[in-house]
Amino acid sequence: MNKVTLSGVDMTYVNKSGEIPALVDIFLNIKTEEFVSLLGPSGCGKSTILSLIAGMLRPSKGQILIDGEPVIGTSPKVGYMLQHDHLLEWRDIRRNTYLGLEVRGLADKEHCRHADELLIRYGLGGFMNRYPSELSGGMRQRAALVRTLALEPEVVLLDEPFSALDYQTRLTLEEEVATILKQEHKTVILVTHDIAEAIAMSDRIIVLSARPGTVKAEYTIELSGKNNSPFAARQAPEFREYFKEIWSVLEEGHATVR
């Protein structure tokens, strides 16, 4: 079952100095509950792909489908998480997680209770009445994840959500987020610059070329003894093979740019 489909998508930005082709002829099929990572050089259009799927941008050409229906605007079916948590510092954690619900007009008892449950389930129960400045980076990003999940999206888009964290926190959070998203049966698209992170977390990796972005290579990741744990995945014997392979493909890209 295809959850998200991009068929023949072009995206061209226009500004004063002219046209900037960001994406050319992108075809992608992402299956229900699949975890897919997008890797590629800086500026190749990874964030653009996420914005298109989120319905925040219109493609210049081609079509984007979710559950077989064309995307015409933002929808509660899609949740978007950015590099920084963007928690509002004047709201406590609980009211931060209600933000999306409020905007969507869904901040009723039932939905708010669900958000509270998610906070408790993911270890933030004791911090519901704290302000973001009192939380560590990892906890803040977890709260941001709960804010996304509170809207019960079916597709979750992650744009380098771990890149602002220190290494230790990053590994821990990768593990937690992967577990949470599997538990909640989400379809996930992760944008990252970190090859190891992509291999450890994903079912499939899509490598994009330098701008204008096109799909350059695709890898289905099969690791022995992975058990959906990114941490365990890093110990798998196949891990290094994937790493070397993807590294060399990305390097090629660098060479052609120069």
Binding site: G79, E89, W90, V103
Partner: protein, 282 residues
């Protein structure tokens, strides 16, 4: 302290070391508290020396008290103003004119800033006018306001408003534009309308800037009010100062200036107090 050395918790002892949790902490606390005491002492000392020299200088004839007045006369004047019951009327007049001016300036300026944020189109069109208005010395418009509004309270309020409103527009509008674009992107991903983005993100994020504008405006509106009172009024501290100058009663001028300083400081601290109460998440 010498006595308590034997006690286990000797580092708690001594008023300067109160609250210490260890020997080093106690020493540290003692050090910074001594420093604070010294600073306050010097601050008071400078003021006192100034007053003493002023008084002695006037009495010994080093300076001419007819031009400079002297502390004892100033104090006398304040007491007699107070006893005549007129002091409160003057203070109250200046305070409410300033308060109305700076509240109108802050609220009005913020509303205009919201309009500019709402429509980039309007903002771009008005930009040169705002820059020009900002650089005009508003005091120069005093005569214009008097012709338009008559020589009375409305002209004073207009002066206080004019002097604070444009600064507020610029401060608050800049604050709006400093809101992280990615936070707004996040709101867009929830499908938020412009109004929701304004109410849930932009306004609360800029709230501290608005309070900062309030502080700046307080000073500016006070200038506007005093200048307005110089020009037209029959009441208020500005009027007292001008009147004192006209009849060459320097004690009255100095007394009024000192009262004005105290009023300004009290107004400033009340806004600071408000700020602490309102911005509780930091």
């Amino acid at each position: 302290m010498q006595q308590s050395v034997k006690k286990k918790s000797h580092f708690y002892s001594g008023w300067l070391r109160r609250g210490a949790v260890s020997e080093i902490h106690g020493e540290y606390l003692e050090q910074i508290r001594k420093r604070e005491i010294m600073i306050v002492t010097y601050q008071v000392l400078i003021g006192l020396i100034f007053l003493v020299f002023w008084e002695i200088g006037a009495r010994m004839g080093w300076i001419d008290p007819f031009i400079t007045s002297q502390p004892s006369k100033v104090l006398e004047t304040i007491v007699s103003l107070f006893n005549s019951g007129k002091l409160w009327i003057h203070i109250w007049t200046t305070v409410w004119e300033t308060a109305v001016g700076f509240l109108l300036g802050t609220v009005g300026g913020s509303l205009i800033a919201i309009l500019l944020w709402w429509s980039k189109w309007v903002a771009d069109i008005l930009e040169p006018y705002i820059v020009i208005l900002n650089s005009v010395p508003k005091v120069a418009l005093g005569p214009v306001f008097i012709v338009w509004l008559g020589s009375g309270t409305p002209a004073i309020l207009m002066m206080a408003l004019a002097i604070s409103v444009i600064v507020t527009v610029m401060m608050v509008f800049n604050g709006f534009n400093e809101v992280n674009p990615d936070t707004i992107k996040l709101m867009h991903s929830f499908g938020a309308s412009r109004q929701q983005i304004l109410a849930k993100v932009v306004l609360p994020a800029t709230f501290p800037t608005m309070i900062a504008a309030l502080k700046v405006n307080l000073g500016l509106s006070l200038v506007g009010t005093i200048v307005g009172e110089f020009l037209v009024s029959k009441e208020g501290l500005g009027y007292l100062i001008v009147y004192g100058g006209q009849v060459f009663n320097m004690s009255l001028v100095m007394a009024s200036v000192i009262i004005l300083c105290i009023v300004a400081a009290l107004l400033y601290y009340s806004v600071t107090f408000l700020e602490k109460r309102l911005i509780h998440w930091k």
